[in-house]
Amino acid sequence: MEYLRAALAIARKDLRIERRSKEVTNAAFSFALVVLLLFSFTFDPSGEETRAMSGGLLWLVYSFAGVLVLNRSFARETANDSLDALVASPAPGGAIFLGKALANTVFLLGLELATLPVFGVFYNVRWDLNLGWLLLVFVLGTWGFTVIGTVFSAVTVNVRLREVMLPVLVFPITVPALMAAVQLTTTVFTGQPLAPEMVWIRVLVAFDLIFTLLAAALVEFVLVG
């Protein structure tokens, strides 16, 4: 209980900082729009085949914008040495990680939901066919991505070339979560039956569980050394 309270307090703190400063919000949202613009040059944006690759496009936008968000997650704490203060606080390392991951997930989900209608308009994709499932896929996929990203954000916080290091480390490991999210999102967008794709939901849940536990257990070593 104490553990969860500390995690929630840290998540609230991060979200409040972001709400007041809008430091990442504006940058990440504009970046997502830029990526959406660039995609329009790589293929015929009005074509029928766009729908078949819509899930992949969307998750590429999310992962690129997501890395921007994750890069700031721990870097934000380096000013005024607040990371040291955070580590020295009674909150255990796992709770700090969980709070940060929670804040990142909530923030990234907001960004995803804001980008979704724009994507639908730009690429003529019906995204509102099955909102319940779509939301579930978004939550599971985003959590998997942010869990890995938050730990590695802590690993790379004091490292040279941090901005490049994070995606190089994060993307290979998150491949399974991205594959599952892409597959399920495309299925929802194209209105195909979800039953044969249920195995991907299992992949996502297993991925999320395994890496959440691993991260909560190992993050202490990263933060304290």
């Binding site: 790379t156 190089v168 490991i173 190992l218």
Partner: protein, 229 residues
């Protein structure tokens, strides 16, 4: 140094002898495969390096966990040696593959489960080494890279399983020939001989790389002391 001069030669000589033995098995002893012809012999230089790379990341993970438990930098030396030598073997696997695929499948590369997983593994090895380069303090570097190794080793397994799922649900551009299926017994001998030789070469290189890592760290420490004066 504490290393005895005699023991330093045992492993390399064994590796050399076994490599010559493996070359004999692969090029002179084992019969040529019927449908693919001579090019199939790449197989004996293609599959064993991948298995060695898998051994490398598993041993690397074991060493990383030992480091996290003991904070003894000797385990960090083993971990980095495993990953770096593992990268060499995974590269060998990735480079020999296309030379076999081109005449047999007609393409250099296909995104099938095994190829994708081998490439992801390669990217993980590279990511690990790039991360190490960017951290100077030995214990910080060891802790960060140990945590990353554990994530990568677990991730590699999940990537492979998910990739199998991904590709069985899609039509494949080529038939990914099951290499393990229906291998004639002389081919098994050549394969295992090659694998054994490569494992000894791997162990040999890991020893050398480990020593290099220790010497490098000691030099760094000395340099820092000099600067402090």
């Amino acid at each position: 140094m504490t290393m005895k001069n005699g023991s330093g030669w045992l492993l390399p000589s064994l590796a050399g002898a076994m490599m010559i033995g493996a070359l004999y098995l692969v090029f002179l002893w084992v019969p040529t495969e019927r449908s693919m012809g001579i090019v199939q012999r790449i197989f004996y230089f293609h599959m064993p390096p991948f298995l060695v790379a898998v051994v490398a990341i598993l041993v690397g993970m074991g060493a990383a966990i030992r480091y996290l438990m003991t904070k003894d930098l000797r385990f960090d030396e083993v971990a980095v040696a495993c990953i770096e030598v593992g990268l060499v073997f995974d590269t060998m696997n990735l480079l020999t593959g296309p030379f076999w695929a081109r005449p047999v499948w007609g393409i250099w590369w296909t995104w099938d489960a095994r190829l994708t997983s081998a490439f992801v593994l390669w990217l993980m090895f590279v990511g690990y080494l790039i991360l190490r380069q960017a951290i100077d303090e030995p214990h910080m570097r060891a802790a960060a890279s140990a945590v990353v190794t554990v994530f990568q080793a677990v991730g590699a397994v999940i990537v492979y399983m998910a990739n199998r799922l991904w590709r069985t649900q899609h039509p494949q551009p080529v038939i990914a020939g099951g290499e393990g299926s229906g291998l004639a017994s002389p081919m098994w001998v050549a394969l295992l001989g090659s694998l054994a030789a490569m494992l000894v070469v791997f162990a040999c290189l890991v020893q050398v790389r480990r020593r290099l890592e220790r010497l490098r760290r000691e030099t760094e420490g000395l340099r820092r002391e000099v600067h402090a004066l």
